[in-house]
């Protein structure tokens, strides 16, 4: 009798634990688009006023990455990630292990670095860290460069040879992002969420073309703030 009870109990425990796995792995894939197309670095695009331009670089830091469950609780994912689209047309994959199996309403993060991290410098980090890259630190700002978006534009001569850049940084430009996802992470599975960053909107403001020039001047922070706001608005969760 006791043997039968033991077998029954262990069977119940075994099957219940198999059916209610608590965590799963998650890949969040960031994909760079221009409108409905995958963004192609070096390809000629046209602004609203017809100005021809190219995009050659697009990257950003995101801090305090977390997801919000449908019961309102948070699932923390990462302190810091750097998304550098480079030539990866398939998207940039960021992987997280042991994510709570649940329904999620949104992914949230801040574009840039949290103030305590932004108060550090590249030499504070081992060379393997993305924060050790001096190419993303600007001494004149005492800040990391949160986002780099660069390319070339037709300056009216008919050839797309003049450079433009938007580099953002400084604590006051740390910008919150909320992306509605309404997706589930299933236990014991590799799950994937895909986030599209549509670059087209970065070059339009109030229905007009954004002037493309060299923009990394902290004394002109309003222009950079508008740009990073447009980055924050550029994300959408999509199905595969």
């Amino acid at each position: 009798m006791s043997k039968l009870l033991f077998i029954l109990l262990t069977s119940v425990l075994f099957f219940s634990s198999c059916n209610n796995a608590k965590t799963g792995d998650l890949n969040i894939v960031f994909q760079a688009n221009y409108g409905d197309e995958v963004l192609e670095f070096g390809k000629t695009y046209n602004q609203l006023d017809g100005t021809a331009f190219t995009i050659l670089r697009s990257d950003f830091f995101m801090s305090d990455v977390r997801m919000i469950k449908d019961d309102g609780t948070e699932e923390f994912l990462s302190d810091l990630e750097q998304i550098d689209f480079d030539s990866s047309t398939g998207g940039i994959k960021v992987s997280f292990e042991d994510v709570d199996a649940a329904n999620y309403e949104s992914i949230q993060f801040s574009i840039g670095l949290l103030p305590d991290v932004n108060a550090t410098q590249p030499s504070d980090y081992d060379a393997a860290s993305s924060l050790a890259n001096a190419g993303y630190y600007w001494s004149a700002w005492d800040s990391y460069i949160f986002t780099k978006t660069e390319g070339r534009v037709d300056d009216g001569t008919g050839s797309i040879t003049t450079g433009w850049i938007f580099h953002t940084g400084k604590d006051e430009l740390l910008t919150d992002v909320i992306i509605n996802v309404d997706r589930s992470v299933k236990g014991d599975e590799l799950n994937e969420f895909r986030i599209v960053m549509d670059h087209k909107g970065l070059f339009e403001e109030n229905g007009e073309a954004v002037e493309l020039g060299i923009n990394h001047d902290p004394s002109n922070i309003g222009k950079l703030a508008s740009f990073i706001d447009r980055i924050a608005d550029s994300f959408t969760a999509v199905s595969k």
């Binding site: 081992d126 001096a134 190419g135 001494s139 004149a140």
Partner: protein, 356 residues
């Protein structure tokens, strides 16, 4: 018959128990602590090639020894002279057969920090990998590692030094990979972090007026004068960002017109044509002529190039454009770059030529 059997058994035992020929040499490597990196920060060291006095000493000897070249005429130091911040003063380097290469010898100062590829085109991932290439390059040392290893084995001191550095028990265990590890260790201790720039940063002394104008231009500090945009590719503390750029020096209107495609050699990407590794500007005063092909003789010529913006090449970096420096800014930039000179690494006996 029995005697013959005994003889075979004795021979077998003798050879199977034969100890390596180097076990009498002590293997007790001493960790090496690198100094002068306070401002530069830590650098990556492979777990299987930690710095030791014995490894560095071996690397130092190999670096300065012409044994690595086919005709014993050139060593690594022939193109990387310590007094020229480990460059050679030539526009492009010339190998043992008198054949000129296509690029200038890069400085090895602070090479420990050179992540994201070595060489102008980034074709080696790390110092261990890089150290293997010049020996067999047909226009450099034009030797082959097989013969080099045989020479090491017959050398009066190298087998013991390999033993002391890496614990091999027999000279038959000498491998090119161990030589490369030693050379990498040697290069990792060539540290420069005590220039005037560093001292001023530490509160010791001050820049003169020229240097200060140069600093403001270099780092785009002063909105009232033209930005230099220098720091984007040559940011401190290393004065390189370890990235690759097309700075508009090649007169190429199309991809096919690049005479040296640089990074695209490695990546095969159209967008990488003409991109070269941004070299460190530390000790740039000592490394003329400048650019990957040594086309500029002076820093003044370099500054003039950036002031004018160079050629509108297909991949010219967006920040390279006509900047229009004032004469004061040009003089200031040169003065500031000269404030990055620091040869204190020559005080380290492990860095100097051990054969002199």
């Amino acid at each position: 018959m029995k005697k013959g059997l005994y003889f075979i058994v004795i021979l077998f035992v003798a050879f199977s128990c034969r100890e390596g020929d180097l076990v009498d040499t002590e293997y007790n490597p001493t960790p090496y602590i690198v100094e002068g990196t306070e401002y530069l920060g830590p650098f990556p060291v492979p777990p299987d090639n930690q710095l030791t006095h014995e490894g560095i000493k071996l690397g130092q000897h190999l670096f300065y020894d012409p044994i690595l070249s086919a005709n014993n005429s050139m060593s690594c130091a022939s193109c990387h002279l310590p007094e020229k911040a480990f460059t050679d003063g030539n526009a492009v380097s010339v190998g043992i057969d008198g054949i000129a290469g296509i690029r200038s010898a890069m400085s090895l100062v602070n090479a420990a920090y050179f992540t994201k590829g070595l060489f102008w085109d980034g074709r080696s991932d790390n110092l261990e990998e890089q150290a293997l290439l010049p020996v067999e390059d047909e226009i450099e040392l034009h030797h082959n590692w097989g013969d080099v290893i045989e020479e090491f084995k017959e050398h009066p001191t190298y087998p013991q030094m390999f033993r002391e550095a890496f614990g091999i028990e027999d000279k038959e265990e000498i491998r090119k990979e161990l030589a490369a590890k030693a050379l990498a260790q040697f290069q990792r201790i060539i540290i420069s972090g005590n220039s005037k720039f560093d001292r001023v940063n530490n509160g010791i002394g001050a820049f003169n007026e020229e240097q200060f104008v140069g600093l403001e231009t270099f780092f785009d500090v002063n909105p009232l004068i033209a930005d230099g945009e220098c720091g984007h590719c040559h940011n401190d503390p290393l004065f390189t960002t370890n990235q690759y750029f097309d700075n508009g020096i090649q007169d190429a209107k199309t991809l096919t017109e690049y005479t040296d495609i640089g990074l695209a050699n490695v990546t095969n990407r159209n967008l990488d044509y003409g991109k070269m590794r941004a070299p460190t500007l530390r000790n740039i005063e000592l490394t003329a002529p400048y650019m990957h092909d040594g086309r500029f003789q002076t820093l003044e010529e370099v500054v003039e190039h950036y002031s004018k913006g160079g050629h509108a090449t297909p991949n010219r970096d967006p920040l390279i454009r006509e900047l229009g420096f004032s004469e004061e800014q040009k003089t200031g930039l040169v003065a500031f770059m000269k404030a990055l000179t620091d040869t204190s690494y020559l005080d380290n006996p492990y860095v100097r030529n051990p054969f002199k």
